[in-house]
């Protein structure tokens, strides 16, 4: 496989030398065209992708150029080494979609999804093509740390299968949270792969602190009171002022830092939406391709996570966790990120909602406990993210300094990718660590699966419609032992 990639690289070297934007324009256009999209729609998507890659590079440059001197002064004045710029998730998505490997992983994962559907191992058709970038990020991280393409692909397939299994397991809980048992929506989003870890703490809560649940408050009212003070741009302004004051900047510099952070956080989201538009023709083409081959079978539809965004607990927990994360970042050993772009912890709170089913105090406490994992994973991934961003050759990206994201989804998967990558170099200790990590990750997932099946069985016993393969006692056919 690597030989084929090397050969392709040699043949297409003149194009590759042009940088990521023209390459991805050509690659995305051709692939969308190949899956049946009208050529001009495919080309439109390709051009939008090239524009988004170019734009994101410029905004990363704007943010890091403004913040790097202040972050260096912050380190000097406080002795706390938090010099990695936190870009948030949108630039990371852009950087990852700037790699041709992402389209390779996309093709593999679509095939895996179809195989699982044909074998009746899942009921979920994943149409959230855009979020394939999360698994591509994991695979690319493994490659950066030493894995070859084959190993990275196996890792991506392995996690991809667990994600699809998880989407089926969570489906009844989504119906419960949405109060809609006819709902076909589920999700394979990587953020929900934190569920097994969260469930350990949720079970501890059940045993030790169940009385805390009576202090749950009205999350919607809290969000309404916070209003625009919790918005993206407002948080950018607070952090700019905070960093400026701690790093002893002038009033003028503090104002620049504040407004630049607010500007860049807004721009990251706007440019992020260009990406969605860019991959839209491909997403529709892939979905049409899959639907045609499934002959009208009724399935769960795998979407991006925000169909749960209407649950106020997600935002109340994110609002409360933002200052907690800032404090944790300041004192956490081994952390190098000062939260900025990722401080609204959207990659953290949806999984907390699903596991706790909206118990807001649990969400906040467990969220505070697990946030260090995200900060450490972000720190660990910073050299890879910085390297990959610079490889885009997009104008504006500075040649010094590190950048990352403080709440990138899938921190455990990032640790595993790093271990698998290092193990691929043949160092025995790393092979052992990677093997142990994979065994623990798999065992934890299957314990979580068992717990979710218990939960789903209760839904079924209460008269709710639950698919047979995610509970213990089939509704139709011979009953098996439940517990």
């Amino acid at each position: 496989m690597q030989t084929i990639i090397d050969l392709a690289n040699t043949i297409f070297k003149p194009i590759i030398d042009l940088g990521a934007a023209p390459i991805m324009l050509i690659v995305l256009t051709l692939i969308a065209w190949a899956v049946g999209v009208n050529f001009f729609h495919a080309l439109e998507g390709g051009i939008k992708l090239a524009i988004a890659i170019t734009a994101i590079g410029s905004v990363i440059g704007l943010l890091t150029t403004t913040y790097q001197p202040a972050l260096n002064a912050f380190v000097k004045s406080t002795g706390i080494n938090l010099s990695i710029t936190d870009l948030g998730w949108a630039p990371l998505a852009t950087i990852t979609w700037g790699s041709p490997y992402t389209l390779f992983f996309l093709a593999i994962l679509v095939i895996v999804n179809l195989i699982l559907l044909f074998l009746n191992r899942t009921n979920t058709l994943d149409v959230d093509i855009f979020d394939i970038w999360h698994l591509s990020f994991t695979g690319l991280l493994a490659i950066y740390f030493g894995a070859n393409l084959f190993v990275a692909t196996v890792l991506v397939i392995f996690i991809g299968i667990l994600k699809i299994i998880n989407s089926d397991l969570m489906k009844p809980t989504f119906n419960d949270l949405l109060d809609d048992w006819e709902n076909p929506m589920t999700t394979t989003h990587l953020n929900y792969m934190m569920n097994p870890v969260i469930m350990i703490f949720d079970k501890l809560f059940d045993k030790l602190f169940p009385w805390l649940d009576k202090y749950d408050f009205d999350a919607a009212k809290l969000n309404e009171k916070i209003g625009f003070w919790g918005s993206r741009f407002a948080i950018g302004i607070y952090l700019g002022i905070f960093i400026g004051l701690i790093s002893h900047q002038s009033v003028k510099s503090i104002a620049t830092l504040a407004f630049m952070a607010a500007t860049c956080l807004e721009l990251f989201s706007i440019i992020g939406s260009w990406f969605i538009a860019a991959v839209e023709p491909l997403s529709q083409g892939v979905s049409d391709f899959a639907n045609k081959r499934l002959g009208g079978r009724m399935l769960n539809i795998g979407l991006d996570w925000p169909f749960l965004a209407g649950r106020a607990e997600i935002w109340a927990a994110a609002n409360v966790l933002a200052p907690i994360m800032l404090l944790e970042a300041l004192v956490l050993p081994g952390n190098g990120i000062l939260p900025l772009g990722g401080i609204i912890a959207m990659g953290v709170t949806p999984a907390l909602l699903v596991v706790t089913r909206g118990k807001i105090i649990r969400m906040i406490v467990i969220g505070a406990i697990e946030l260090p994992l995200f900060l450490w994973a972000g720190t660990l991934s910073a050299p890879f993210i910085t390297h990959t961003a610079r490889a885009l050759h997009a104008p504006g990206i500075p040649s010094t300094g590190l950048f990352s994201a403080s709440t990138k989804e899938g921190p455990i998967e990032q640790f595993i990718a790093v271990l698998v990558g290092k193990a691929s170099k043949g160092e025995m200790m790393m092979v052992l660590y990677a093997a142990l990590a994979l065994v623990a990750y798999t065992a934890l997932f299957f314990w979580y699966r068992h717990e979710m099946m218990k939960r789903n069985q209760k839904y079924s016993d209460d008269g709710k419609e639950v698919a047979d393969d995610v509970k213990f006692v089939p509704t139709h056919g011979a009953a098996s032992s439940a517990e």
Binding site: I276, D304, G310
Partner: protein, 102 residues
Amino acid sequence: MTVKILAACGAGVNSSHQIKDAIEKEFKKRGYNVQADAVMVKDVNEDMMKNYDIFTPIAKTDLGFTPTIPVINAGPILYRMPAMAKPVYDKIEGVIKKENLK
């Protein structure tokens, strides 16, 4: 007259933009002048809603207040199956006609 629609999702980046684009495209075909905006659901407030005729969140949404404009769940637009999106468009068109927004 332009019909103004507010779409909302988690980050205001992915799903809400898909809803916005799909609604604008469909209603252009149906002969309406529709302009949709996409925002983060946590940023939606009563003042913002005053600027719109219809609210189309990705799913049932607890905003902490009762919207004064019609709310239509636009999640099915994201299923990428025209037959499932059509009822959403029909509901929006029903509201446009009922409220005489055209």
